[in-house]
Symmetry: C2
Subunit: 503 residues, 2 copies
């Protein structure tokens, strides 16, 4: 591992460079030179005026062998574990402390808890934790920290559009990297960087990617691809925003067992860490990875508390950005995490037991989904389904070429844009599913918003819109009923019917 | 009141104009045309996998005559009120619902609760609530929604610097408006707008102001000034960001009583609403006010949940901005508010009882502070203290002219910058206080970051840095001990001593 710190300060956005140091914090720094300083400085309501005496969370017990299965089977009588934070009594993070103002970095107790968690799974060299308001907040803060108007960022050509779109108002221009069932293709990334023409603008300096159970394609990057991509990042001075909300939902082919995965995280040459793929963070010797973690898929979306793990340099800038935008995360979630991971809570071992059990649950769900797919959809021969190794999505490819009305642009050499009517047919199929009572997410929702001028003329993305994202996060009834409607709609759609063709 | 909506869309920032509609939300809009749609679309973990069965909050009881005094006097045995939200049992906002993904606007139950609260105190015409992650998030979202690079925004010349500084990286330029003990001076605002030269850039189109217990000066705008400022806003097409965290800490001269304030909120010609000054929001017929409310001073800073009340037009844009940045607020606080204000909680009447009692508490604190000031500091004749009617700050003016080393620039006609050594002396006094064990907040921390080129050459802000902000939010011991040190430091400082003068 490199021991010389790499200077990556040139990656900061204009906005980050214009940010002024916080004058009030400078005063506090001065004040810290003496102990027992009396303060008439800060307008913090006194904790005796907080109307909250205690918060109690009744959470799932992790004492069972398979805690998620036990929790689901037990319903409202499942065994629970009680966490309490009181205003006045001893707890890891008492209400009195948790509900004060803190810096953008969050409360020290919670920072420590998430730092321990990250060390357990990723063991990164010299990185620091910045608490966020959840995944969306974490990723968009990275965009704002790194992207100036006119900058180019790279991303998977199909990605979660709410986040990709969020970069556009900052003047960030997206450059898409082709993907396959194994996720982002390193050779495609290399091609773009090697052949970049400065006429187009500055060469991309940030890669945004979702390495596990990618949204929408469900793909997971192999260790080999991760290493290749990280090497490309070093060679071309890229930063990597590793957005990894599905990290804990990596289900191996066999049910997980702690014994089989005894290799300590981050040990030299370890292929996996705790049975999970090594993150970009765990490979990051240079400090060029900003890893964004979320608890939304592990606990619940309403948590709205996550973490960015980065070099201390970017950490300091993320804290400054937090102080001058959202301010620090809410006490409720910080207190919840600190108590849950603390000695009277689940502890780290209990958390690991929960996520192992959760992985089994999602693998079970995936298999239930694929089982229904096998009976209701596959026999038509019109759709292929990916078999994800992580996350909650199946990316289904419609064999649009088999549709009677499918056509290619005849003979003419088109400079850019669609060469087939793929998208139009897919819009029809999507509408038909809706009419039949089923909502699915069509590929065009996820197409990275790029300048079509730079699309591949031989293989434009518009001609690859023949995918739908389906999820197995819902109930088994929804999977069964939904896939029946999906199969029925496909059957209707691929049978040529007299149909009014508009335009 | 005007019934024709005023088109204010030209106030949107470049960023807001570049924001793309959320494609996934468009899909959902399409899907809503049929009931009972089956969804395989969204990746939301099923609520049976949330490891939280219930949340219980033990909060202060508001059944007593003076609930805050009772709460403080009772310590850990004070009467409490229990709020519970369960995953599976009936509550205003069950865990099952609260912890799902929602839109940027937040959960409907919480939106309704805060809308009712706003109606109770402000009764604004045709406005909508957008939940925020607290005051800082609310204000900075308004900056991003309205400020393009090169835009000018107006603000009080001394203001909370963390927020004013947060506008700078967006390219917003501040223009300061002079203030006095009554807050922002309408005539100064008018002067700036009437005499604006387009050579300086576009005329300011946004005013950011804190109308009650202003931070740092503690001033509160009179009804007359509010009306004048609103009229200027209409005349010069300004929007007003009304940042009002101390609204509920307005203490009238006499202890509050519900009977004395029977006039319904928003009634024609009412000077006060619920005994509180009428907000800009309550005067807003045009939809040009974006009011930012916070619960940090009423409950606790760690709440990190607030609300922006604005016209439906700006509401829609704020929701889009939220969806593409922080995402919706945390479930914990949304659930807390919905249960607290709901029928099994405090209800609105109980909330009002709490804040009335809190106002009495802060008036009592102010009086305790001023009592110590009277004995420890005032007799020196070196400092004047403001007597705030709201908030938690006393703005103290040091009579710097009386210092033996105070001097004015001799004779020469300075084009710009300081004409006295006021700031230097104040930095010395600040350091002396620190050496003596006291932290106070010096005026320069709060000076609006403006271009000094446009400062008033006759009365530059640098020569008005002879103020310190002191707070009475802490304990009585801190007030007493702190003011003793303050008095002692002043005494030492104003007595000429042989002192090494650097440079």
């Amino acid at each position: 591992m490199s021991t010389t710190p790499v200077d990556l300060s040139h990656h900061l956005s204009q906005e980050a460079r214009l940010r002024k140091p916080n004058a009030m914090k400078q005063i506090w720094r001065l004040a810290r030179r003496k102990p027992n300083m009396i303060s008439l400085a800060n307008g913090d309501p006194h904790s005796s005026l907080y109307p909250i005496q205690s918060l109690t969370f009744n959470v799932a017990s992790v004492a069972e062998k398979d805690p998620v299965a036990t929790w689901r089977a037990g319903g409202s009588s499942a065994p629970t574990h009680t966490l309490t934070s009181s205003r006045d009594e001893a707890s890891v993070l008492p209400v009195r402390t948790a509900f004060q103002y803190t810096t953008g970095a969050g409360l020290i107790e919670t920072q420590q808890a998430v730092t321990e968690l990250t060390r357990f799974y990723h063991n990164p060299p010299d990185h620091a934790a910045t608490l966020t308001l959840g995944n969306g907040d974490g990723v968009t803060k990275c965009f704002r920290l790194l992207g100036s108007p006119g900058d180019h960022f790279l991303a998977d050509e199909f990605t979660f559009s709410s986040l990709a779109n969020a970069a556009v108002p900052h003047g960030i221009k997206w450059v898409s990297v082709k993907i396959d069932e194994g996720g982002l293709i390193p050779e495609e990334l290399e091609n773009i960087l090697v052949n970049w023409s400065e006429e187009r603008g500055p060469r991309p300096h940030v890669l945004y990617t979702v390495p596990c159970g990618q949204n929408p394609t469900g793909s997971t990057l192999s260790v080999e691809r991760r290493k290749k991509i990280y090497e490309l990042a070093r060679r071309f001075d890229l930063l990597i925003i590793e957005d990894d909300p599905y990290y804990f939902l990596q289900y191996t082919s066999e049910p997980s067992s702690p014994e089989a995965e005894a290799a300590p995280a981050g040990s030299e040459g370890a292929v996996s860490s705790r049975g999970l793929a090594p993150s970009f963070l765990s490979l990051d010797t240079d400090g060029r990875v900003l890893r964004v973690d979320s608890f939304s898929k592990v606990f619940a979306p309403g948590m709205r508390l996550g973490v960015i793990t980065s070099s201390p340099f970017f950490h300091a800038h993320l804290v400054a950005l937090t102080d001058s935008s959202t301010q620090h995360p809410h006490a409720f979630g910080q207190l919840f995490l600190a108590e849950l991971l603390g000695p009277a809570g689940w502890t780290l071992a209990g958390f690991d037991a929960w996520v192992r059990s959760l992985r089994d649950e999602y693998r079970r769900r995936r298999d239930v989904f694929l089982g229904f797919f096998e009976t209701e959809v596959a026999p038509l021969g019109l759709v292929d389904a990916s078999v994800p190794e992580a996350g909650m999505f199946v990316w289904t490819k419609i064999n649009v070429e088999r549709h009677p009305r499918f056509r290619r642009e005849a003979g003419e050499a088109k400079a850019q844009g669609a060469r087939t009517n793929c998208r139009q047919l897919m819009e029809e199929l999507f509408e038909l599913c809706l009419d039949n009572g089923l909502v699915v997410m069509p590929a065009w929702v996820f197409a990275l918003p790029t300048d079509p001028k730079y699309d591949d003329p031989e293989n434009p993305v518009e001609d690859r819109m023949n995918y739908f994202r389906l999820t197995f996060a819902g109930t088994e009834e929804a999977m069964e009923d939904g896939l029946k409607i999906f199969g029925q709609s496909l059957k209707e759609f691929f049978v040529e019917k007299p149909k009014p063709v508009e335009n």
